[in-house]
C-alpha cells in the first residue's frame, strides 16, 4: 500500500471530507495562504476557495466561538488551534459553550465541530509551545478527545471526527507530522473508543498514546531481546476511553505501565491506572507504573528537553521494574 506522512494523511482526510460535504469549512491562523504552520492544510485554499478555507486574525476565542455559532446554525467547522498551549485564551468557548450546549439546551443542539491542534515537545519550542494538555480535554463532558499515533489512525480518526455530531478535540503531536505509514486512498473511518493493540505481548501491558506509542514500540523491541514480551495498547481516543481493551490486556499480562508525555501529576495516566485497578486489581502481579514528564514546565534547551520527555530507556526501566 501507498505510504503517506502523518501530515499528508490528515491533509487527505480534510480534502476528501470537504469534497463530500459542502457544509464543512476550515478556519484558523495561517491555514489558507500559508497552508498551516505544519502544512496540514496545504492546498485547501487553492481547491476550496476563501469561503471554505478561512485565514483568521489572532483571535482564538473568536475562532472557536464562531465555530460554535456556525455549528449551531448548521455548518461543520474544522478549526485549527495552532498549538494546544494557546487554549487558555479560548478555553471558555470550548468547554462552557461547545461542550455543554447540547446538555444545557436539553438535547436540542448539535455541535459538529472539530478543533484540530498540535501538542508535544521535541522541537525546543519551550514552555508555551510544547505542552501536552490532553488531560484537561478529557475532563470535559460533552467533548471527544482524539490522540492518534500513526498516519493510518490519523486519517481514519479525523474522518470520524468530522462526521461526528459532537465537538471533537483532535490532538496532533508535532513530532509525528513527518512519520510515514501505509494509508489507504479511499476515505475510511475508525470508530472512537476502540483502543488499538499496536503490538501483542504476554508479560506486560504498556498503554501509550501519540509520540509515546512509538517509544513504547521501540522499548518493546529492546525488551524482546531480554525475553520480555510487551503488549502495546494505544487508546487512540481518551474520551471515550476503551477501558475494556486495556483491562483485558492487563488480565492477560498481569502488569501495567502507562506512558504519556504530559506531566504525571493530574495527567491522563492517573485515570487509566485507576480505571484498571478498579476493575482488575486482583489480576495485577505488580504495582502499575506511570512513565511521564516531571512536574515542570517544558524546558527549552535540547539537553533539558530530552530529559523532560519520557525516553525509551525510561520505559524499558519501568517495564523491567514491574516484571521483576
Amino acid at each position: 500500500m501507498r505510504t503517506l506522512t502523518f501530515a499528508q494523511a490528515l491533509n487527505e482526510a480534510l480534502k476528501q471530507e470537504m469534497r463530500r460535504d459542502p457544509t464543512i469549512y476550515v478556519a484558523g491562523e495561517d491555514v489558507g495562504v500559508y497552508g498551516g504552520i505544519f502544512g496540514v492544510t496545504a492546498g485547501l485554499l487553492q481547491e476550496f476557495g476563501e469561503d471554505r478555507v478561512r485565514d483568521t486574525p489572532i483571535t482564538e476565542s473568536a475562532i472557536i466561538g464562531s465555530a460554535v455559532g456556525a455549528a449551531a446554525a448548521g455548518l461543520r467547522p474544522v478549526v485549527e488551534l495552532m498549538f494546544i498551549d494557546f487554549i487558555g485564551v479560548a478555553l471558555d468557548q470550548l468547554y462552557n459553550q461547545a461542550a455543554k450546549m447540547k446538555y444545557m439546551f436539553g438535547g436540542k443542539a448539535r455541535l459538529p465541530i472539530v478543533m484540530r491542534t498540535t501538542c508535544g515537545a521535541g522541537m525546543c519550542a519551550a514552555a508555551q509551545h510544547s505542552q501536552s494538555l490532553e488531560a484537561w480535554m478529557m475532563h470535559i463532558p460533552g467533548l471527544k478527545v482524539v490522540v492518534p499515533s500513526t498516519p493510518y489512525d490519523a486519517k481514519g480518526l479525523l474522518i470520524t471526527a468530522i462526521r461526528d455530531d459532537n465537538p471533537v478535540v483532535f490532538i496532533e503531536h508535532k513530532m509525528l507530522y513527518g512519520i510515514e505509514g501505509e494509508v489507504p486512498e479511499e476515505p475510511y473511518t475508525i470508530p472512537f473508543g476502540q483502543a488499538d493493540v499496536k503490538r501483542e505481548g504476554t508479560d506486560v501491558t504498556v498503554v501509550a498514546t501519540m509520540a509515546m506509542a512509538h517509544k513504547a514500540l521501540t522499548a518493546a523491541e529492546e525488551l524482546a531481546k531480554d525475553g520480555i514480551s510487551v503488549e502495546v495498547v494505544d487508546p487512540r481516543t481518551l474520551t471515550p476511553l476503551d477501558v475494556e481493551t486495556i483491562v483485558n490486556s492487563v488480565k492477560k499480562t498481569h502488569r501495567l505501565v502507562v506512558v504519556h508525555e504530559a506531566v504525571k501529576h493530574g495527567g491522563a495516566g492517573g485515570e487509566i491506572v485507576a480505571s484498571v485497578v478498579e476493575e482488575a486489581l486482583d489480576y495485577l502481579d505488580a504495582p502499575p507504573k506511570r512513565v511521564a514528564a516531571p512536574f515542570t514546565p517544558v524546558p527549552f534547551s535540547p539537553v533539558l528537553e530530552q530529559v523532560f520527555i519520557p525516553s525509551v530507556e525510561k520505559i524499558v526501566a519501568a517495564v523491567k521494574e514491574v516484571v521483576t
Partner: protein, 320 residues
C-alpha cells in the same frame, strides 16, 4: 413614523409580556419555587422588543444571563420558559438549563449564556453560517455594558467586521455590571464609540424608547441583510431590579432608580400609542388581561409539570 399599527401593537404587547412574565418570575423566586440565579430584564423591555421586531424565524440571536426578554421577543414560548425556570422536565431544556441557559435553536435562539461575553463570538459564527449559505439572514448579539469590556467582545466584533458578516451587536447599557457603574468600567461615555475600532457604524439610542431602538435596529439590520456588514447599537437603559433577585443593591441610590422609572419604556410607549390613536384604554386593558392569562397559564403548566426523572441526568450529553 411609518411603522404600521400591527407592528406597534406587537411591540406594546411584547413589552408587556416580558414585564408581566418577569414580575411573576420574581414572585416565584421570592417564594422559593424558582431556584438558582435569576436576572430580571424589567425596565429594559424596549431593547429586545425594538430589535426583535425586525427579525425573522431564520435569523439568530445570542442572549445573556439576563435573557428572558430576548427569548420572549424572538418568539419563545412562555410555558416552556416558565417550566424551565421551575426545573421541570417539560421546560425548554428539560430542566437541565434553567434561566441562564434557555434556548430554542429552532427559533434561532442560540441560548442565554452564563458567561459574560460568551455571546459575541457565537453570534459571529451564526452570522457566518447565514452568509456562507447565501441567505440574507442576520445574527443579533445582545450583551451588557459590562460585557463590552470582555476580550471576547473585541474578538467577536473584529472578526465580524473583517469578514463583513451580518452580525448586529446590541449593547444594553443599563449603567451597571453587577455593582460596578459603567463610568468606572470604561472611560468612554458611549460604548457605541467602540465601533470605530472595527470600522463599523455605531449607534447610540435611548433604550427606553422602543421606537428609537426599532429605527436604529432597522437601519443596522437592513445594512446587514444587504451584505454591508456588522453594526453596533448601544441602548441606554436601566434595570429596575437588583442584578439578580436577592441583590441588596448597596451600590446605587433610590433617586437614580426613581429617575429611571419616570422614563419607563412601557408607560411612555402606551401614552404615545394612545396619543396616536393606535391604542385606547379598553384595548390596553384587554391586552394586559390576555397577557396575564398567558402568564398564568405558563405558571400552571410549570407547576403541574413533572420533575425530570433522576436517570435523565445522564441523557443529552452527546449526540449519538
Amino acid at each position: 413614523m411609518s411603522t404600521d399599527t400591527e407592528k406597534l401593537l406587537w411591540m406594546y404587547t411584547n413589552m408587556l409580556k416580558i414585564r408581566r412574565f418577569e414580575e411573576k418570575v420574581g414572585e416565584f423566586f421570592a417564594a422559593g419555587k424558582i431556584p438558582g440565579f435569576v436576572h430580571l430584564y424589567i425596565g429594559e423591555e424596549a431593547v429586545a422588543t425594538g430589535v426583535c421586531a425586525h427579525l425573522r424565524k431564520d435569523d439568530y440571536i445570542t442572549s445573556t444571563h439576563r435573557g428572558h426578554g430576548h427569548l420572549i421577543s424572538k418568539g419563545g414560548d412562555l410555558k416552556l420558559m416558565m417550566a424551565e425556570l421551575f426545573g421541570k422536565r417539560t421546560g425548554y431544556c428539560k430542566g437541565k438549563g434553567g434561566s441562564m441557559h434557555i434556548a430554542d435553536v429552532d427559533l434561532g435562539i442560540l441560548g442565554a449564556n452564563g458567561i459574560v461575553g460568551g455571546g459575541p463570538p457565537i453570534a459571529t459564527g451564526a452570522a457566518l453560517a447565514a452568509k456562507y449559505r447565501g441567505t440574507d439572514g442576520v445574527a443579533v448579539c445582545f450583551l451588557g455594558d459590562g460585557a463590552s469590556n470582555q476580550g471576547t467582545f473585541h474578538e467577536g466584533v473584529n472578526l465580524a467586521s473583517i469578514w463583513k458578516l451580518p452580525a448586529i451587536f446590541v449593547v444594553e447599557n443599563n449603567m451597571y455590571g453587577i455593582s460596578l457603574p459603567q463610568t468606572r468600567s470604561m472611560r468612554v461615555q458611549d460604548i457605541a464609540d467602540r465601533a470605530a475600532a472595527y470600522d463599523i457604524p455605531g449607534f447610540v439610542v435611548d433604550g427606553n424608547d422602543v421606537i428609537a431602538v426599532y429605527e436604529a435596529a432597522g437601519e443596522a439590520i437592513q445594512r446587514a441583510r444587504a451584505g454591508e456588514g456588522p453594526a453596533l447599537i448601544e441602548c441606554k437603559t436601566y434595570r429596575y431590579r437588583g442584578h439578580f433577585e436577592g441583590d441588596p443593591m448597596v451600590y446605587r441610590t433610590r433617586e437614580e432608580e426613581e429617575m429611571w422609572r419616570a422614563k419607563d419604556p412601557i408607560s411612555r410607549f402606551e401614552t404615545k400609542l394612545m396619543e396616536m390613536g393606535v391604542l385606547n384604554e379598553a384595548q390596553a386593558r384587554e391586552i394586559n388581561e390576555r397577557i396575564l392569562a398567558q402568564v398564568e397559564e405558563a405558571v400552571r403548566f410549570a407547576e403541574e409539570s413533572p420533575w425530570p426523572a433522576p436517570e435523565e441526568v445522564l441523557e443529552d450529553v452527546y449526540t449519538v
